[in-house]
């Protein structure tokens, strides 16, 4: 029991599997971005080269002014949070275990941990640009988190008030939720939430590269930054799978369904990349208004529609 838990966490579907899958998705992201810009793009193993270089070769610099302990602990916490979320999502999604009652709420909180950890790490670095990044990230969390929670509420409602991921997947056995009008509205809102959670343009306000030089991550170097990018790879894999499970009817890895599940994830990631490549960066107040007014409105309309069974 303990042994299988460790395997779940470290190898499949946890750390190792999620990092490799996320690494490939990250390459997919860079490659598609390059193709959109008529470039060739990096080789397939590029994300892994980046990670290994940062982990093995580069020196890790600790902040002189600031708190080195918190600074170094936060990437680890972020990685653990992302991996746990990934395990809790993938175990029911792959039909390995049935999860537990209320796991969808646990996942919701676990998915928050990386962002909060990055904020603490940025504040511990003692860099003014990092603290600007942290404060922007905090505002961004405040704005998209309500929308995300409402989406979960809508999904729970559509599944007949069940708060277990496995049962939500089972409720979609005949038609997945995206097959209704409210499902489509929820999907649109979810895509924008993902965009903000992943820190992609138009919501890369917290790490605006050309403006505040990677913001929250400005002081991270070497192995600490390696953990940061590993967390990002894992999130890039976990979040699309989560949305696929909530709205597109889950994944399954039997027979031809493998291809179908992979296509689902790739399609969601592709959508994210295309939005990222065709939009400029928003200002923070624009992003807040976007989520507070428009996205919340959209989700509330979706909930109302689903009450009437559409």
């Amino acid at each position: 029991m303990i042994f299988s838990t460790i395997i779940y966490f470290l190898i499949f579907p946890g750390l190792l599997f999620a990092s490799i899958a996320g690494g490939f998705l990250s390459w997919f992201d860079r490659k598609v971005t390059a193709m959109v810009q008529f470039r060739k793009g990096p080789p397939v193993l590029q994300p892994f080269y980046d990670f290994l270089k940062l982990l093995l070769v580069k020196e890790t610099i600790l902040p002189a002014k600031g708190s080195p302990v918190v600074f170094m602990l936060m990437p680890i916490l972020a990685l653990v949070g992302a991996t746990l979320a990934c395990v809790f999502i993938l175990l029911p999604a792959l039909n390995i275990t049935s999860g537990f009652n209320g796991d969808i709420l646990v996942i919701f909180y676990l998915l928050n941990i990386p962002a909060l950890a990055f904020i603490l790490g940025a504040l511990a670095s003692g860099n003014p640009l990092a603290s600007i990044g942290a404060s922007r990230e905090l505002k961004l969390i405040i704005s998209y988190e309500l929308t995300f929670l409402l989406i979960l509420a809508a999904v729970i409602f559509k599944a007949g008030m069940r708060i277990n991921l496995q049962e939500i997947i089972m409720a979609q056995a005949d038609t997945s939720f995206i097959g209704s009008i409210s499902g489509i509205l929820l999907f649109i809102a979810a895509i924008f939430c993902l965009q903000a959670k992943l820190g992609y343009v138009p919501f890369d306000i917290a790490e605006a590269e050309t403006e505040i030089n990677h913001g929250s991550f400005i002081e991270y170097s070497g192995s600490a930054y390696a953990l940061v990018i590993l967390t990002k790879y894992i999130l890039l894999f976990t979040l699309p799978v989560f949305i696929g499970t909530l709205l597109l009817g889950g994944l399954s890895f039997t027979g031809i369904n493998i291809v179908y599940s992979l296509l689902k994830i790739l399609a969601i990631v592709l959508l994210l990349i295309l939005i990222r490549n065709t939009n400029p960066r928003l200002k923070i107040h624009q992003a807040m208004r976007f989520f507070f007014v428009w996205m919340n409105l959209l989700v509330i309309i979706a909930i109302t529609l689903s009450i009437f069974g559409r």
Binding site: K53, L56, V57, K58, I61, F217, E219, G222
Partner: protein
């Protein structure tokens, strides 16, 4: 070649330091990232923070004020870091070498791993210089 060197050479992240440049070299550096030359093929990308950088590109003539900044940036960089002097200004000082405020060339201030002369060097020359650096 060990795995460490291999990964390092496969993923060079560039940080651009412009001294008192006439801006021509800066534009040629940016040209390397455009679709026509696309150095991302080799895993290179421009980063905004020196803490993430593996290669420090220095161009333009270095005057007395730039010198302090350049030293500071160099000491802030995580090692190992490669320094590339781009343009005649960075390599020798060029027409500014006799100037009153001139404090360079770059290799008098920090150790330089590769020189790419030219005023400005073509993007092809910059890529050739970096390839030579990688094969060193």
């Amino acid at each position: 070649m060990g795995i460490k060197t291999f990964c390092f050479k496969k993923s060079l992240w560039l940080f651009h330091f412009g001294g008192a440049s006439c801006n021509n070299c800066d534009i040629e550096i940016l040209d390397c990232l455009t679709p026509r030359y696309d150095v991302e093929r080799f895993g290179m990308k421009l980063v905004g923070s020196i803490r993430h950088a593996d290669v420090l590109l220095v161009n333009g003539s270095i005057n007395r004020r730039d010198k302090e900044r350049l030293l500071e940036i160099y000491h802030q960089a995580p090692k190992p870091i490669l320094v590339v002097a781009i343009g005649t200004c960075g390599c020798t000082g060029g027409i500014f070498a006799e100037g009153n405020t001139f404090a360079g060339p770059v290799d008098k201030i920090i150790p330089v791993d590769a020189y790419i002369p030219g005023c400005p060097p073509k993007p092809e020359a910059i890529i050739a210089g970096i390839v030579k650096l990688l094969n060193k």
